[in-house]
């Protein structure tokens, strides 16, 4: 009996090592896929600029003509980088949100976070209402963040009150969604024709306004937030077992939640501030990551980051190649891709395990 236990132990340890190695490999593969997608994204587009020329133009900018230089360095590269970053931000936010609220359908979009951020941004863009003292370059982001964080706090208060009832939470999120959408509509109604046109396009969710400034800001937010996410990986995994259990392990659940929600708001709000509401990435990204890699958050969080980037990149490529000569706003593409996945998730929820 004892010796059998020993053999069993060794076999299980070997199996665990193998599992960890496989997950690292999956992460590496995802990273490579992202890189490949990024390159394809840069080389595709309405204007005629060949694959080879685009790629060599990135490595050796000097060979490009002035127009080509602008095309690659001021349009395609920032847009492609923005696709990666927005995917990362929304997917990571979705992954953390799902764990923190214990709800696989939670995401910045489904819980009205994106709408809240849009509303905040709309106030700034259209009516010029912002927080006093914030520099004008950041006013849209700051507003978006403020509203996103406020609504996430409301959600959390509700989650606590309803003892983590999943359906109540989603319903409340839908409530927020409609409220803020109505708010956005009101702002649109009050807006001048000029501001309106700018805003409608923005509201659809598109990467077309990406520039190096916005890429730098969102990039900084992702790069700053991600290590903090990763640091809490074990505690977040523990939270999957419920508050009581996590608390009894010694996890300061309240603190963990607060900072996770702070990160989530910042990620979602910055993404929304620059690109408008882009739906479903926050659900689809984490869901694919979970299927590929499980819920050990040491791997799940980075995997969500990468799957988000990957899906967004594909969507970006699709938005350029579906209709020749036209770039469809990417929010429309992600919705068409994301909706079926979302329904699949909803249906699976009903089936007993």
């Amino acid at each position: 009996m004892k010796s059998m236990d020993c053999a069993e132990t060794d076999a299980a340890l070997v199996a665990y090592d193998r599992l960890v190695r496989r997950r690292v490999l999956v992460l590496a593969a995802l990273g490579l896929a992202c890189l490949a997608g990024f390159l394809v994204d840069i080389t595709s587009g309405p204007s005629s600029l060949g694959v080879v020329r685009s790629l060599s133009g990135i490595l050796m900018p000097d060979i490009l003509s002035r127009a080509e230089h602008v095309m690659i360095w001021n349009l395609r590269l920032p847009v492609a980088a923005m696709a990666v970053l927005v995917g990362m931000a929304l997917s990571l936010a979705g992954a953390e949100l799902q764990t923190v609220l214990n709800n696989p359908l939670a995401s910045p979009m489904t819980l009205g976070l994106s709408s809240a951020a849009s509303f905040g941004a709309a106030l700034a863009i259209v009516l010029g209402i912002g927080i006093p003292g914030v520099p004008s370059a950041l006013i849209v982001t700051a507003n978006a963040f403020l509203f996103a964080f406020g609504s996430v706090q409301m959600l959390q208060a509700l989650a606590r009150r309803s003892a983590g009832d999943r359906d109540t939470l989603i319903l409340f999120g839908i409530g927020l969604l409609f409220t803020f959408n109505a708010g956005v509509a009101l702002v649109q109604f009050l807006a001048s024709a000029d501001a309106l046109q700018q805003f409608v396009f923005w509201g659809m969710g598109s990467l077309s306004r990406a520039n190096w400034m916005s890429v730098a800001i969102l990039g900084a937010v992702v790069v700053l937030m991600f290590p903090f996410s990763l640091r809490t990986a074990w505690q977040m995994t523990a939270l999957r077992f419920g508050d009581d259990r996590a608390l009894s392990f010694g996890v300061d659940v309240r603190r963990l939640r607060f900072f996770a929600l702070l990160r989530i708001s910042l990620l979602a709000a910055t993404a929304v501030a620059f690109c408008g509401t882009i739906g479903f990435i926050g659900i689809v990204g984490p869901h694919i990551a979970r299927m590929l890699i499980g819920e050990d958050h040491r791997f799940f969080l980075p995997a969500s980051l990468l799957t988000g980037a990957l899906v967004m990149t594909f969507a970006s490529i699709a938005s350029k190649s579906l209709m020749p000569g036209v770039v469809i706003p990417i929010g429309i593409v992600t919705s068409f891709v994301g909706l079926p996945v979302f329904f699949l998730l909803v249906m699976r929820r009903g089936t007993p395990r």
Partner: protein, 259 residues
Amino acid sequence: MTGLKISGLSAGYGRRPIVKAVSLPALGAGQVMALVGPNGAGKSTLMRAIVGLVPATGAVEFDGTDLLQLRLRERARRVAYMPQTLPGGIGLTVLEGVLTALRASPDHEGLPRSTDARQALATLVRFGIGHLASERMDRLSGGQRQLAALAQAAVRMPPLLLLDEPTSALDLAHQVQVMRCIRSYAEIQGAVVVIVLHDLELACRWADAIAVLKDGALAAFGSPEQAITPDTLRQAYGVEARIDRDAAGRIRVLVEDAL
């Protein structure tokens, strides 16, 4: 003083008192106490109060410190708790789940991590589920999930272990195995184990002391012989019961009728 002593412990949800001024004599190191009583008596609430999940007044002295006064982290260092309800639908293997219990704990920061998996696995083997190590937790049976949850609570090897109905879904063999495990854990670690049970015969056979809870108050306390009598059963559960001993000297509870 080593061991666990509860004095005047009251706890409840909101304004509603559930546990009412419960005092329990000291339990020494290496002892196992069973907490029994009817549904809704407040057994789970009592445990949750000790871990700090429900606001409580009174004192829970453990090895000379009042647990209720401790911060979360200090408390978690001394106490592990297995809740009654089991989590479902988690995409982790059993080994990962137990490893999480170990590594999420703040005490574990900065410790060498190479031995963790081994320690987690040893706990699984001890509870007879070593073969489930690589199994996904969301694909386990009810009893297997209970065993995994038990391993999660025990893996940090705390000096005070609170288990809320760890055997309710277990088959005969696993019930005995788990109780034997818990006993030897208490003895080898010099730990105190409090365990909520509904099976009185199991409680009588494995516990050093039994506390009977009824409507949030202590109805009886003592050795199995002292605590489990026809009188206390009538008072606590409202049943007429006969207490017998079988050939091996074990206590048998024969319920005749509900009153």
